[in-house]
Amino acid sequence: MNEMSKTEITDKKKRYAAGVLKYAQMGYWDGDYEPKDTDILALFRITPQEGVDPIEAAAAVAGESSTATWTVVWTDRLTACDQYRAKAYKVEPVPGQPGQYFCYVAYDLILFEEGSIANLTASIIGNVFSFKPLLAARLEDMRLPVAYCKTFKGPPTGIVVERERLNNFGRPLLGATTKPKLGLSGKNYGRVVYEGLKGGLDFMKDDENINSQPFMHWRDRFLYVMEAVNLASARTGEIKGHYLNITAGTMEEMYRRAEFAKQLGSVIVMIDLVIGYTAIQSISEWCRQNDMILHLHRAGHGTYTRQKNHGISFRVIAKWMRLAGVDHIHAGTAVGKLEGDPMTVQGFYNVCRETHNPVDLQRGLFFEQDWADIRKVMPVASGGIHAGQMHQLIDLFGDDVVLQFGGGTIGHPMGIQAGATANRVALESMIKARNEGVDIATEGPEVLRRAAKWCKPLEAALDTWGNISFNYTSTDTSDFVPTASVS
């Protein structure tokens, strides 16, 4: 480290004289700081305003997300203020993105309340994203120390117990979202659910904006859906489920809907990310008490996760949600209609499913993360995917994932059951071939064509969608090329 590594004013008289100091001078920059194992670490991508020194900008981020205000306050001296100050400890230019810098900040554990995502986020993303000296800021990644992880209960069910409850091992789970998402009556809606489940799916799903609209009251939906789920179970001998979306205007109403889902014997309920972190933690606790799998739809995330220069990376949201305690989370498809660079999306999946994440810059994982045995979250791939992409999906994501083909099931030319069967046959054929040693990344299409010879629904699916792809450039890719630090 050079002379820039410390710019803190150490003379107490000068440091606490009334007035305005640079954040780095106030002690929010320490290029020599060695993060402790118990520190929470955050990586921000910042774009300082023209003329703002990147180190001062990084110090400001550390300051505004911990103890600082814009001026010097003598009351700092009543506290062990050195330890309450977050410390920016590394600043690097972002490769290939002029004007942007990766800035690393360490926070002492005392800054955070145990078991509260709301408290964590109020600090880390509370003020700093509106800070004028920055044109833009993005929270790229976080390292959550074991000591902090252990203050959360995590997913109420987790991948292992979910599979045991569903008696479903050795392949991805299959789902579909009921379509059209709006307008079906309860009875018509239940029909779609029955057809999909009997045809071979494990789960059907409410969409994020199906709650209790004039065309379908929530109780009607729940009653018809559970008739469909139980009948499909009788016709197949399998455990089936439907994500009953219990999102509502108040927690009281959400608990009411959750209780009714439980009374009717549903194995799973669903919430939307827009209900907020505290509501998510509350319903997670309810699920834990009631043997219920909790499905999270990430509704709204694209407003702040998609653009690389400002907002929060979805990998951070995935980390928060693993702590907050959800069992399923929509984490992208890479090959479907929605945003997602394949390596970046794999990074999200690793956050959900691994017991320990090593640093993996190509997948956007900047920190090592030990999950302290917190249960694993089942990622969900949903949005514009179809049976013809089965080999790509399994090759990218492996077995512990829910593959959801909504339009690809319900829009099948031979009907919904046929659509579901096509997906299930495509899935089982591909798993079997992979296990037999076939290189499905290259020979996958051939595996599908062979199965289509004896499975008419699969043949029709491949004829209808076989050539559909969504090849657009991703906006959220990892800028991972390592370069020299500016400090």
């Binding site: 292992v160 091992f169 139980n230 179970s233 001998g237 017991t355 045995d373 089982e428 004896w454």
Partner: protein, 129 residues
Amino acid sequence: MRITQGCFSFLPDLTDEEISAQIEYCLGRGWAIGIEHTDDPHPRATFWEMWGNPMFDLRDAKGVMMELDDCRKANPDTYIRINAFDNTRGFETVTMSFLVSRPAVEPQIIMRRTEVDGRAIRYTHEVAR
């Protein structure tokens, strides 16, 4: 009706050669193979009868196939499944499960409805014998 539990039930029934290939895959990943049989394919019938303990020290698919033959002879006309167990920390459960025998005539599963308060219904399932 065809019960579709297990990860290959939508495919034509696996031949012994195909079963053997799947077992090789499991053994190659260090998983232990167990054989289980039942005449009760209820969706929530968790505990089928074990044909001995999972074969933790067996590393050859041929050995499993011999056990499977014995199990089939001793339990004709039942459901038999192959389970693979992964004892890696963080998994520690069945990691793959597929049917390898079915009875000649599979039973129906009956759904029973008990009408309770309001329009709510309690559902139970029963295997018809």
